[in-house]
């Protein structure tokens, strides 16, 4: 027991920080912590690490000789992050509703858009960290796989930047889906089902040209494998703008308009 623990503030001078708004940096650190301190968050991230190691190992041990390049191994190492981190992003937002923690979070941070911004920033930090880890695995994997030092290590800087774009945007799209749907299961299902649905649309000949511009699966496919041309970038940027912009806008609108219950 601590007798001082509930001392009312009138008893002393108002402590510093009492009326200081929590800064975005602090809120981002809080959101980062919230991503890893739940059981689901912890296992998802362990899964990303484990699968990344597995992807590198499989490529190194059983991959085709032509695939044992740094570019390819890094691309494989980043796939688990690209696929699973968005789920972490979805849960970071949707669990505020499904676990009803919004009642606590919004009580502490009533400016809800700030909370969403902090979540996006935390997502970006986590995505960068995941890329760094993937990079480390890929370096180790490539060193183990190859004897041909000159050939396999070459990697254009542009391609590495594209890898970063791939992981970071996947995370942000996930957060957008979580914010738009405010419910974990539908957000996860839709996140994985929509690209498939778009791909199906793309198989209709008349629509295939359009789908190349709006579906991330097609538009972003070259991100981790080749330095993209101007045309490919145009398609990628359009698709990303759509996949980030639309869910985020819906999410922001619901977040600010809707009563929390």
């Amino acid at each position: 027991m601590n007798a001082h623990a509930i001392e009312a503030p009138e008893m002393k001078a108002t402590p510093a920080g009492r009326d200081r708004r929590p800064g975005l940096a602090r809120l981002t650190r809080v959101e980062l912590r919230k991503m890893v301190d739940t059981r689901s968050g912890f296992w998802l991230q362990l899964a990303v690490l484990g699968l990344s190691v597995l992807a590198v190992l499989i490529t190194v041990l059983w991959g085709h000789e032509d695939d044992k390049t740094f570019i390819q191994i890094l691309s494989n190492a980043l796939q688990p992050a690209g696929i699973l981190l968005p789920v972490v992003g979805i849960l970071l937002v949707s669990s505020e509703w499904s676990q009803r923690t919004a009642l606590v979070s919004f009580a502490l941070v009533p400016e809800r858009p700030r909370l969403l911004i902090a979540k996006v920033l935390a997502g970006v930090v986590l995505a960068l960290a995941a890329t760094a880890v993937g990079l480390l695995f890929a370096v180790i994997g490539t060193a183990l796989a190859s004897t041909d030092l000159h050939h396999v290590w070459s990697m254009p800087a542009g391609l590495f930047l594209q890898d970063l774009v791939y992981v970071v945007t996947a995370m942000i799209i996930g957060i957008g889906f979580g914010a738009a749907l405010q419910s974990s299961a539908p957000a996860i299902v839709l996140y994985f089902a929509l690209p498939v649905a778009f791909a199906a649309l793309g198989s209709i000949h008349a629509l295939s040209g359009v789908v190349d511009w709006i579906n991330t699966a097609e538009a972003l496919e070259p991100l981790t494998t080749e330095v993209m041309s101007g045309h490919q970038w145009a398609q990628g940027v359009v698709a990303l703008a759509l996949w980030i912009g639309v869910p985020s806008a819906i999410g922001l609108w619901r977040l600010t308009r809707r009563d929390v219950g």
């Binding site: 027991m1 503030p9 009326d19 708004r21 301190d37 676990q99």
Partner: protein, 298 residues
């Protein structure tokens, strides 16, 4: 200080909260009493900026809750004890709140001790908590920022008698140090044990409010006689409004003096004549519950 002024909220055309006005002053514990579905939760959520009133105004500490720069340091809020991530450990849930509002994390351990969650309990995931443990965690969460105002929705729900006594001591102490407390309950005995002021709500409207003494003195007179029928006639003859009380007597809407005189006029020997007090409050609340209790959950 907490203020609600002509607060109104409609859901699908029905006024869930209807012209609700009350104030909670520093140094008091106000019990917000009403049956389930009476509008307590909606009112409290409007005060905390979770829900926008259709008309009227709600505020804390002289302004809107949402305008507070770091609300956790001024107002401690527990809106739903179940609103914690089931996959997070109890201590971690508090640590996150402390970090958000910029409070040192070591205070978390002080608070866990204060609310009686020991080390093994603090390490458990919230999913494994009983409702009583969640309430304790929620109260610790509300207290982390050393607030001067507490807003607690049904905090006694799920607490055992020992827990109730503990909470009473905690909140009384908080109020005596100058804090303001608003807590809701659908059970009279909970509020009766903890609060010194009452705001009673039914079907979204304030039915009665005031200090417990005021409400008790307004509660009427409880009178009993062996010859019940004669007493009933005597009260009717004196023009006093009387209802049959649970224990065989009458609850009369008048001062004991007037009731005694009426009995004397009718020549009835009384066995009991006293201000209704708690029994009257219970009757008032019972009438409320039986009128409005059918409207379902909030």
């Amino acid at each position: 200080m907490i203020e609600a002024e002509k607060l109104t909220k409609r859901f699908g055309g029905r006024a869930v909260v209807d012209d609700v006005t009350f104030r909670c002053e520093p140094g008091t514990v106000t019990g917000f009493l009403g049956p389930n579905g009476a509008g307590k939760t909606t009112t409290m959520r409007m005060i905390c900026g979770f829900s926008t009133p259709d008309s009227g105004h709600a505020g804390v500490l002289g302004g809107e809750y949402r305008a507070l720069p770091n609300p956790g340091r001024r107002v401690g809020v527990l809106l739903d004890a179940s609103a914690q991530h089931g996959g997070r450990r109890g201590r971690e849930a508090l640590a996150i709140s402390a970090m958000t509002m910029g409070v040192e994390e070591k205070r978390v351990d002080d608070l866990l001790g204060l609310v009686g969650l020991d080390r093994p309990a603090a390490r458990k995931r919230v999913r494994q908590y009983s409702l009583g443990m969640r309430q304790r965690l929620g109260i610790a969460n509300a207290l982390i920022g050393e607030p001067e105002v507490l807003i607690l929705d049904e905090p006694a729900n799920g607490l055992d008698p020992e827990g109730m006594r503990w909470m009473r001591g905690l909140l009384r102490d908080f109020a005596e140090r100058g804090g303001t407390v608003l807590l809701s309950s659908h059970l009279l005995h909970e509020v009766d044990a903890i609060a010194d002021r009452l705001v009673i709500i039914g079907s979204g409207k304030i039915v009665a409010q005031g200090s417990k003494e005021e409400l008790l003195s307004d509660a009427g007179t409880l009178v009993r006689a062996d010859d019940r029928a004669a007493l009933g006639r005597a009260l009717a003859a004196a023009g006093l409004e009387a209802r049959e009380a649970d224990d065989g007597g009458f609850l009369v809407d008048a001062e004991p003096r007037a009731v005694g005189a009426a009995a004397q006029g009718g020549g009835v020997a009384l066995v009991h004549l006293a201000p209704a007090g708690d029994a009257g409050l219970e009757q008032l609340f019972f009438d409320l519950t039986s009128d409005n209790g059918k409207e379902g959950e909030e």
